[in-house]
């Protein structure tokens, strides 16, 4: 069963900007799916169309087999949306935001009260239930949006940058919560600019750039394709110039910091052999960026240069 199936989806905004240039996308039920892409790529536009906030120019969307145009109400009932921008009523209390949302989805009062309590507790907001939402901190507001999206127990939870501007502790607890919700059977589509987040949480991934899908595969095989790892080395003694080794590209960032590009086929042993050969002592070593981030940059760059050419 497909949780989401998109065919040849296009969107041209009224100002003539073509935000989506015919994308196809499938997300299996139960998946934890990452939708990545640089600013302005078209992620929120795609999510807007899926959640009926944006009218598509052409193409089709179906959610758990319900076509968005023909079976609007059934399709909508499956979705829980956490939009990128805060959009709850800032003058309402946290609790009434959730209760109203449950009401819009036709949840009977008693069940709505139960689910509200459950979701607020899960998002660590239960003691804020009677607070006017305007008075919450930014991170709490984000959590209110997640709690709101879950109150009607949707089968497909779509989160558009839920962790933007949230401190690391709360981000961790959101990750845990998303994993739990996913394990309980909810399909999740996540967009984020924190790629390590996508790497650790998601099983499948699509990268969208300038309105086109430039990559769509499972996370493991995508990462396996990465053939160069970048490392940063802290040295014991200062160097005057970057050493020149066979098969490695090395930059001297600071007199005691080296940045090394290590191709998969060479491996770290070879690097250290050569370092030892030149008597360069290394104190510590870390990954320069996270692996997905490198791939991401490669894919998005390739696309951009490809277009320019």
């Amino acid at each position: 069963m497909k949780a989401l199936s998109i065919r040849n989806l296009r969107k041209t905004y009224n100002n003539g900007h073509e935000a989506l240039k015919g994308i196809d996308l499938d997300v299996e039920a139960g998946d934890f799916f990452a939708l990545l892409g640089p600013n302005g790529a078209g992620k929120s536009t795609a999510i807007g169309i899926i959640s009926s906030l944006v009218n598509a120019s052409s193409g089709s969307v179906s959610i758990f087999g319900h076509d968005l145009k023909k079976e609007r109400s059934q399709a909508k009932s499956c979705i829980g949306l956490v939009p990128q921008e805060i959009n709850f009523n800032q003058f309402d209390t946290v609790k009434s935001i959730l209760l109203n949302q449950a009401g819009y989805y036709g949840t009977p009062r008693q069940l709505a009260l139960q689910r509200t309590e459950q979701c607020l507790k899960q998002m660590d907001l239960w003691d804020k239930r009677d607070t006017i939402s305007r008075r919450l901190s930014g991170g709490m507001k984000r959590r209110v949006m997640i709690a709101r999206a879950m109150v009607h127990a949707p089968k497909l939870l779509i989160l558009d940058e839920p962790t933007a501007g949230v401190d690391i502790e709360i981000r961790r607890s959101m990750w845990k919560m998303m994993e739990e919700v996913n394990q309980q059977g909810t399909t999740i589509i996540l967009t984020t600019h924190y790629l390590e987040e996508a790497e650790s949480l998601c099983r499948n991934i699509a990268i969208i750039d300038q309105g086109c899908i430039v990559e769509n595969s499972d996370m493991k095989s995508l990462l396996a394709r990465l053939n160069v790892d970048h490392f940063v080395l802290d040295l014991a003694e200062p160097l005057a110039a970057a050493p020149v080794f066979d098969g490695f590209k090395i930059d001297l960032m600071d007199d005691k910091i080296l940045e090394v590009a290590v191709p998969k086929e060479s491996g770290l042993n070879e690097l250290f052999k050569q370092l030892s050969g030149q008597d360069i002592r290394v104190l510590s070593l870390k990954n320069k960026t996270n692996r997905l981030e490198q791939l991401f940059m490669d894919l998005v760059d390739a696309k951009t240069t490809g277009e320019a050419a």
Binding site: N14, S52, V54, K76, N100, G103, Y104, G106, P108
Partner: protein, 254 residues
């Protein structure tokens, strides 16, 4: 899909909103109308004498009540829906499986509730100043209800089309208020010189005020049946237009 629960949710939210801000929504009409009754009814009315066989005070009470119903039914929907749209809070309802007609019915009912509630408050105040006679309670109640519905719909359309806070005050200030004052609230059209009588006949509020007043004093400048037909017709047209705007997503969807 059960539409009753979403409808009830919207209407309770709407009622809660105007009750919570009662110093802005319920108190001002009580004060303004008290002043109308004092100044126009008591101080000047005694000198004016009677119109169509009723003391001036009794003559203006129904018009003042209906004028409050009109402005509050309109104001409630226009400000509530516009601020919902402005905060992008309307997205909650667009994403949820709530049919457009339920959204419309919910907001319009909220406006009708406020209009009628304010009408009752004004009516109670009027009882301090005049001995209200009732000719036909049902004509008055149903006309008040239809008028509230009509202007709640108009407020909805204004809110959907508005792009700034200025846009939601233009219609009330430059259209509704003049039409209400010229709608025979304080005088009988028969008192106007010929040409102005004819022009007044183009003012829909005149029809509603007269039908509503007929329910109190049993006298109307205008055929009461015609008033009902016309109000019903306007409601149908505005409701269809509102649904069309929601269907297109005007001002809401890109």
């Amino acid at each position: 899909m059960n539409n009753w629960i979403p409808f009830r949710t919207i209407i309770i939210k709407e009622i809660y909103r105007f009750v919570r801000i009662w110093p802005q929504t319920l108190l001002p009409p009580a004060i303004t109308t008290t002043l109308y009754f004092l100044i126009f009814g008591k101080l000047m009315g005694d000198r004016i004498g009677s119109i169509n066989g009723s003391p001036y005070m009794d003559y203006i009470v129904p018009g003042v009540i209906l004028m409050s119903v009109i402005s509050h039914a309109y104001a409630n929907v226009v400000s509530s829906f516009y601020s919902t749209k402005f905060q992008r809070n309307i997205e909650e309802l667009i994403v949820a499986p709530v049919p457009n007609w339920v959204i419309l019915a919910g907001y319009v009912s909220g406006g009708v509730m406020r209009g009628l509630l304010v009408g009752c408050v004004v009516g109670l105040i009027a009882m301090l100043f005049a001995d209200l006679t009732i000719h036909s309670i049902w004509i008055s109640v149903s006309m008040a209800f239809l008028t509230a519905t009509l202007f709640a719909l108009a407020g909805f359309i204004n809110a959907v089309m508005a792009e700034s806070f200025d846009d939601i005050s233009i219609i009330p200030n430059f259209v509704l208020t003049p039409l209400s004052y010229l709608g025979g609230v304080f005088y009988s059209v028969n008192m106007l010189p010929g040409i102005w009588q004819t022009i007044s006949m183009g003012n829909p509020i005149l029809y509603m005020v007269n039908a509503f007043r007929y329910g109190f004093i049993g006298v109307s400048d205008i055929d009461v049946q015609l008033s009902f037909l016309m109000t019903g017709g306007f409601i149908a047209v505005l409701a269809i237009f509102s649904l069309y705007l929601l269907y297109k997503g005007t001002g809401i969807k890109q």
